[in-house]
């Protein structure tokens, strides 16, 4: 009642106000201010007084009224006045003008335009997937990229693409972080000053005009390995325009061995495509074909298909690996022989001799005999693969052996090279350097590569670009660098053009088998970046053609159509063809046809092999498994990714064999903080090679050939960005052109500096301590006893419960489960990066990794199978058993225990069980006691000890998966079986009122896995893949005796050793 009355009164008062009093109005008009009054008032005041206006001072009642009224009398009209058109216009102009004033100093008004019309196929909040491809060396990885409202957030494999078959590798997974790298170059610069693109084009045109007269005699283009036909065509058109110009290629981490080997064997460059799926016996001559090189994702998939065991009667392929340093391929091998890199060639020659095709016989080695015999027994179904870093001779021998075994056409075939212009990279770079020295180069265009960092040390590429103090001029007048980052080379160049990421450009690239893949942008360039092709075009007579048009023009060219033998209908409807190509991510049927290659090579004609004296130490240069040749140095995901075998992060190290390490008295010292799961001090050594020196931390690697030291490339960057600069040591500094991959020196080249360097190693302990962590057996054992994995398991019966009589929770709807086939896993780490990308997992940095706080939700454990011995005191004690230990990998995500130890101890119920059996984390509820982690027997929980997540960098905000909470500090987190994907599938299923079919939910790790080792699904569905795997006898539970009843189970690894070698 009271309230209502007040309201009425208020109305009444307002009415009064609005009422006009003519007398008052008259008074207002006739009563202007009187200065005398003011003066009088002023005099009458004492002390300090403050007034706002003279009116106030004068105590003018009008002013008082003005203060208290919303609409002063002076306003020409009050609300109830009729407004005439003129007044209205006057008012509106004024208010519009002042509206601008009012905006001064505030956040500018920004218009947000919602989708007026929802784009077709887009539902806000639901991601879209686009097919594209990542060009990488002589390969293009076909991808499907997840896009959230226009932001690419997650890379997945394209199942239709031959090089990926739906899987990915670490580089493809991590490449999305490169897109959002805040350290990327963002504009065109000249001498470091920001310039516009049009200025650059003008300048390029001027240079081009200047070159016209000389036919481009001083024009040089330096690129990496290019498989893009469109880009190559652009270069070719420039070369036609400037006939005397030259194109050089330099790919630092890809050897010329394969190319030259083909030339040696067949007289011309050819590309080799393997079909591991068809091979029963495979011999790898230092080839990491499951872990790196063109087509390795597909090879890993094909290889693992032959490792699939549904029951004891199934067969498996057999893999022999000869290699100097352990790789993921070596770890997967049934037999692995550590040999020094130079001895691999001797081995290949001896093998050729054994097979009666010439070569140099060596002593009757048991291993060699067995391999040769095995290969001969599998003519046509065997395969010999030579390694990328091996010399041409080994490749030629491999071709000869394959030919002799009748494998060509079955387990491998030859095609035309995927590079439009295959050249010997080293010779190409050498020629360029010589030309620069001879002052023949006037304009150098460097596309994407970083030669100042990667060129052989004796070429001294930096001096080629630097200002010559003596001659008072630069050797090369114009140097233009196109790269994603302003790097070591950019510093010495005149112009630098920021290069677009492959997710920002149109383009194409050939895959390892020649398949033409289309690169489709997922986002407009974030910065003022341009593609290499656009930069090339700037020098041409058609500088304005954009990438989209260039690609379309190429694809619609009549020659292209005939080339692929497309049907007339497809020719007729280019748009349809174009849409299909974009949709598929590739031009269907564009893979190269096998060519008949006649062997023009005799192993007998080979000159004597170069050998390394036994007392000398061999130094190998290998691309790093995480940062590759250095191009990923600024990628935090890859820097923090434990390297497959060594489990080192954030650094490279000089890898030595345990025995050599002992000889050189190199030791490791486990730090008290972090310890085996973080920080290990290792001795620092100076390595002097070819008049240059490098200082590196030494790291002992079991399984490495004795007398071999591996110097991984890609580290020690001087200008990579915040993440990558000054990490590890630069192996390029001692790499010379005469010994690109292997060099040797006496042991005196190595000097201990006496210092120790802390390395961040996530798993130093390699022994299973006699526990059945990773069940392993041989095929023979498996056939004899298919249940060998569960033989010694002490699984407590379910009746052993405190809650007797209470029914077990039935999980009658869906029962999510995972099975990981250890027989397939090769430890490639793709799952780790995929999980990091999918689940917004932060990068913590080297210091935190050394404290044992890395955040990976899934980790890949590596164990060596060593004879049981007590390593309680010193787990680092190496002995003979570590000369060549069988190596196994085990991915460990959260095991999603049904009887979860973590859930029982959480005081606040922040980790609870779902009705589908997921062990859910409620981040909001977590107070961070870490009790759950202590009680987790698998130690898969990760704690935000500090605020690890970057909340400020705007680019990184774009990267995040909007479906996954970004965790704050002080909360626990862990694998959720990608619960966001489960829920998406559930929503879809419920809409269509159907059960979620098997395969509708693919977890990020499963999706990325090249070997299909990880399988996720509904264990209640008896026909699901996961249920079938779990029904196998190989299936075992990790630490089953603890009765945690994990939903994630493992399938025992089975090796298929040669009985002849086994008996030794």
């Amino acid at each position: 009642m009271d309230g209502m009355r007040e309201h009425e009164q208020h109305e009444h008062l307002q009415g009064q106000h609005d009422h006009h009093d003519p007398a008052e109005e008259a008074k207002l008009h006739k009563n202007p201010m009187d200065l005398a009054t003011v003066r009088a008032k002023l005099q009458s005041k004492t002390g300090k007084q403050y007034w706002r206006t003279l009116e106030e001072l004068a105590g003018d009642p009008e002013f008082t009224e003005l203060l208290h009224r919303e609409f002063p009398r002076q306003a020409p009209s009050e609300w109830d006045d009729g407004v005439d058109r003129r007044d209205f216009l006057k008012l509106m102009t004024a208010s519009l003008a002042f509206a601008g004033l009012g905006g001064c100093g505030r956040t500018p008004e920004q218009v947000v335009v919602p989708y007026v019309k929802q784009p077709e196929g887009l539902t806000l909040g639901r991601p879209q997937f686009y097919a594209t491809a990542m060009p990488f060396g002589a390969d293009a990885v076909g991808l499907l990229v997840e896009s959230h409202e226009g932001r690419p957030t997650k890379i997945e494999g394209n199942p239709d693409h031959p090089s990926s078959l739906g899987a990915t590798n670490v580089f493809a997974q991590a490449s999305v972080l490169n897109l959002y790298d805040p350290d990327r170059a963002q504009t065109v610069t000249k001498y470091g000053e920001i310039q516009t693109w049009s200025l650059f084009v003008e300048s390029a045109q001027a240079i081009a005009a200047g070159m016209k007269a000389t036919n481009g005699a001083g024009f040089r283009i330096l690129s990496g390995l290019i498989t893009s036909p469109t880009l190559a065509a652009q270069i070719q058109s420039l070369l036609t325009l400037f006939p005397k110009a030259k194109w050089h290629q330099w790919e630092p981490a890809v050897g010329d061995g394969a190319r030259e080997g083909a030339k040696l064997a067949f007289g011309r460059y050819l590309n080799t495509v393997y079909r591991p799926e068809k091979a029963d016996v495979i011999l790898s001559l230092d080839s990491d074909f499951l872990g790196s090189g063109p087509g390795h994702i597909r090879y890993a998939r094909e290889f693992s298909r032959r490792r699939k065991l549904n029951g004891p009667s199934d067969t498996m392929n057999r893999l022999y690996v000869v290699e100097p340093t352990p790789s993921v391929t070596g770890a997967t091998a049934d037999h692995r022989l550590p040999l020094r890199a130079s001895e691999v060639e001797l081995f290949a020659r001896a093998l050729a001799a054994k097979l009666g095709i010439g070569g140099t016989p060596s002593g009757a080695e048991k291993w060699l005999d067995a391999v040769a015999k095995d290969l001969q027994q599998h003519k046509g179904t065997s395969l010999v693969v030579a390694g990328e870093q091996q010399p041409a001779e080994v490749h030629a021998l491999a071709h000869a052996v394959n030919a002799a075994l009748g494998n060509v056409g079955t387990t491998l075939y030859y095609t035309e090279p995927v590079e439009p212009q295959p050249v010997n990279n080293l010779d190409s770079l050498r020629e360029l350097c010589a030309d620069i020295e001879a002052d023949k180069v006037e304009t150098l265009l460097i596309l994407g590569v970083n030669p100042v960092y990667t060129a052989p040390h004796d070429f001294d590429f930096a001096s080629k670009l630097k200002f010559d103090q003596e001659k008072k001029q630069k050797k090369v007048k114009n140097v233009i660098h196109v790269s994603s980052h302003f790097d070591e080379t950019s510093e010495l160049c005149d112009w630098h053009v920021a290069e677009s990421h492959y997710l920002e450009t149109w383009g194409d690239a050939r895959a390892f088998d020649g398949t033409l893949s289309v690169i489709q942008p997922l986002i407009a360039p974030l910065y003022h970046t341009h593609s290499a092709r656009e930069v090339l075009a700037a020098f041409s007579d058609k500088p304005g053609v954009n990438d989209y048009d260039a690609l379309r023009t190429r694809l619609s060219a009549p020659s292209f159509f005939t080339h692929f033998g497309l049907t007339d209908a497809e020719k007729a409807d280019f748009e349809k063809f174009w849409r299909k190509t974009l949709n598929d991510g590739l031009v269907a049927g564009s893979a190269f046809a096998p060519v008949n290659a006649s062997l023009k090579f005799s192993a007998a004609s080979l000159p004597a092999a170069k050998t390394t004296p036994a007392d000398e130490i061999e130094f190998l240069f290998r691309p790093d498994p995480c940062v590759y040749d250095g191009r990923f140095a600024n990628n935090g995901w890859l820097q923090e990714l434990p390297k497959p075998v060594t489990k080192l992060t954030w650094d490279n190290a000089a890898l030595v064999s345990p025995k050599t390490g002992e000889k050189l008295s190199l030791t490791h010292d486990i730090a008290a903080r972090g310890g085996e799961h973080g920080k290990v001090y290792s001795n620092v050594i100076d390595i002097s090679l070819s008049n240059s020196k490098v200082t590196a931390a030494a790291w002992r690697v079991p399984g490495q050939a004795d007398g071999t030291i591996v110097l991984p490339l890609g580290y020690g960057r001087k200008r990579a960005g915040y993440t990558g600069t000054n990490k590890g040591f630069n192996a390029y500094a001692v790499r010379t052109s005469d010994a690109l991959w292997v060099t040797s020196a006496s042991a005196s080249a190595i000097k201990k500096t006496g210092e120790d360097y802390p390395l961040a190693c996530t798993q130093y302990h390699f022994s299973m301590e006699g526990r059945q962590i990773l069940a392993t057996g041989t095929l023979e054992e498996y056939r004899k006893n298919p249940n060998f994995a569960n033989e010694h398991a002490e699984l407590p019966p379910k009746e052993l419960s405190l809650y007797k009589g209470e029914a077990e929770f039935p999980y009658d709807r869906d029962k999510w489960a995972m099975a990981i086939d250890l027989n397939k896993c090769n430890g490639c780490n793709a799952c780790v990066v995929a999980c990091q990308s999918e689940n917004n997992i932060p990068v913590v940095g080297k210091d935190q990794v050394m404290r044992g706080r890395e955040m990976h939700w899934i980790r890949v454990d590596r164990y060596y199978e060593t004879p049981p011995k007590s390593t309680a005191h010193d787990p680092s004690s190496y002995d003979e058993s570590l000369f060549n230990p069988p190596t196994f990998f085990q991915p460990v995500p959260c095991q999603q225990c049904e009887n979860a130890p973590c859930e029982q101890v959480c005081p606040v119920g922040a980790t609870v069980h779902s009705a589908e059996g997921l062990n859910d984390m409620v981040y909001n509820r977590c107070v961070g006691t870490r009790y759950c982690s202590n009680n987790c027997p698998y130690k898969v929980r990760r704690f935000n000890f500090l605020r690890f997540q970057d909340w400020e960098t705007p680019q990184l905000k774009l990267l995040r998966n909007p479906e996954v909470t970004v965790r704050s500090r002080g909360v626990m987190e862990k694998c959720t079986y990608c619960v966001q994907r489960i829920n998406n599938a559930r929503i879809d299923a419920e809409k269509s009122n159907a059960p979620i079919h098997d395969g509708a939910i693919v977890t990020a790790c499963e999706q990325a896995c090249p070997t299909e080792a990880i399988v996720f699904g509904n264990a209640n569905d008896k026909n699901s893949r996961v249920a079938k795997l779990k029904a196998q006898q190989r299936n075992y539970t990790l630490l089953g005796e603890l009765n945690a009843r994990p939903r994630t189970t493992y399938l025992a690894a089975v090796r298929n050793p040669n009985p002849e070698l086994e008996s030794a």
Partner: protein, 461 residues
């Protein structure tokens, strides 16, 4: 024991080792004890000591402030060692508190007269130790500002704590323990507060003590009620002595970590708590009686008795160590066997041997009458036992976590500067509170000592 020693309870022994020096009257007892608070000038030593302790406490404040700003990552904890110094210190401090309650409650119920002179400051010690301990579970969480989730408050979301978690039992055990200890201590203080009120000369002191004395007039009715309240509270506190550390041991024994998951833990933890508690009482009592000349009130008999309790509980603790080994080998559980090997040969073996030395070997000296009556030896021994018991918690909490089930996840732990700053800081806080306590409250119960005077004089008659 030396052969010529008379039976322990003989009057001869009582005369030799009285619970109170001879010749005291009601008045002289009151004078002597209340003088420390009221009339004796505060010594420069007190000021210096207080200042040092207070600065150390200041360091703790800084350490905790930085912790809240940055997060628990400033400590040495990691995965797999999720609990480090914070939990070690928590268990250690709570253990220290136990002696106070044992002395005041259990010995009171058992009518052990000798407890009288030490119960007051032992209880104070309990309270301060619980205060130090109680901080750790709060600050060790990742988000201390959310720690209230651990209390069963009626949340609008309808969420309750997870009652199966031993950490929730901890919350109840420690808060109950803290509350009962405070009440017990305060009720015991009331007659003495009245004495101080009556004896203080300054007005403010009169007012403060008067308010705290709750109108105590010493009437027979007051005494009657006081004694029944005291008896009831003693009865309430008694089970707590056993339960609190049992519950805390559940934090470990309920978990499945090898080295934690042991049924011996509850009695073993309680014994350990009393062990360390008595050691701490000695650590405080010995300087206290020396500085304030209280040798007549805290006599050799007290020290001797406390040493004996230490010896007894120390042996129980030793039994616990033995059982750990026995159970590992008897069960044949590979993880437990491995743990035992780790204790003896692992990277942290020196800590284990130090623990055996401090907790088992050195205290065996207490069998000797001479040693028990050598104040210097007792003082050093009490420090050694405190270190040993701290090491025991370190071995249990940290070392068990370094190597559990999956070898790939094994790690190591070492504390950071902030770990130490927090730990030493709590010692500063403890000493600060002790300093304040002896300065403003009677460190020995005047009322009970007066009772003792009448009883001993009867004895002598």
């Amino acid at each position: 024991m030396s052969a010529g020693q008379p039976p322990l309870d003989s009057p001869e022994i009582r005369r030799l080792t009285p619970v109170i020096g001879p010749g005291y009257t009601y008045g002289s007892v009151t004078d002597k004890i209340s003088a420390i608070v009221l009339t004796r000038p505060t010594s420069i030593g007190w000021y210096i000591g207080f200042l040092i302790a207070f600065s150390v406490m200041g360091m703790m404040t800084v350490a905790i402030g930085w912790l809240i700003i940055k997060g628990t990552g400033i400590w040495g904890i990691n995965i797999p060692i999720g609990w480090g110094f914070a939990i070690v210190n928590f268990v250690w401090w709570i253990g220290i508190g136990h002696a106070g309650t044992l002395i005041s409650a259990i010995l009171f119920l058992l009518n052990q007269k000798w407890r009288t002179s030490i119960n007051r400051f032992a209880e104070a010690m309990t309270l301060f130790a619980v205060a130090c301990a109680g901080m750790f579970p709060l600050i060790h969480t990742g988000r201390p500002w959310m720690a209230f989730y651990m209390f069963p408050y009626p949340s609008t979301m309808g969420i309750w704590p997870q009652f199966r978690s031993p950490l929730i039992w901890d919350v109840f055990a420690v808060s109950t323990y803290g509350t009962v200890s405070l009440m017990f201590w305060f009720v015991g203080l009331i007659p003495d507060l009245a004495t101080l009120r009556d004896r203080s000369v300054q007005k403010p002191m009169k007012i403060i003590y008067g308010m705290l004395a709750l109108g105590w007039r010493g009437s027979a009715r007051h005494w009657h009620r006081y004694q029944s309240a005291y008896l009831l509270l003693a009865g309430l506190a008694t089970p707590l002595v056993l339960s609190v550390h049992s519950v805390i041991s559940f934090d470990f024994s309920v978990a499945i970590v090898p080295g934690w998951h042991t049924t011996i833990f509850p009695p073993y933890f309680v014994a350990g708590a009393i062990y360390s508690g008595f050691a701490m009482v000695l650590t405080i009592a010995i300087p206290l009686r020396k500085v304030y000349g209280l040798e007549d009130f805290i006599t050799m008999r007290h020290l001797d008795n406390m040493a004996k309790v230490m010896l007894a509980t120390g042996l129980i603790v030793a039994y616990g160590y033995f059982i750990e080994f026995f159970m590992a080998s008897y069960s044949g559980n590979k993880f437990d066997v491995f743990l035992v090997q780790q204790r003896l040969h692992g990277p942290y073996a020196p800590y284990y041997y130090a623990l055996i030395l401090c907790n088992i070997l050195i205290p065996q000296l207490l069998w000797s009458f001479k040693m028990r009556h050598n104040v210097a030896v007792l003082f050093i021994m009490s420090i050694v036992v405190n270190i040993g018991m701290w090491l025991e918690r370190f071995v249990i909490v940290v070392i068990s976590l370094t190597r559990d089930f999956v070898p790939s996840a094994w790690g190591r732990y070492s504390p950071t500067f902030w770990d130490w700053a927090t730990f030493i800081g709590t010692m500063g806080m403890f000493v600060t509170l002790i300093f304040l306590f002896v300065r403003v409250l009677p460190a020995i119960s005047i009322a009970e000592m007066r009772e003792l005077v009448s009883e001993t004089s009867e004895d002598e008659k």
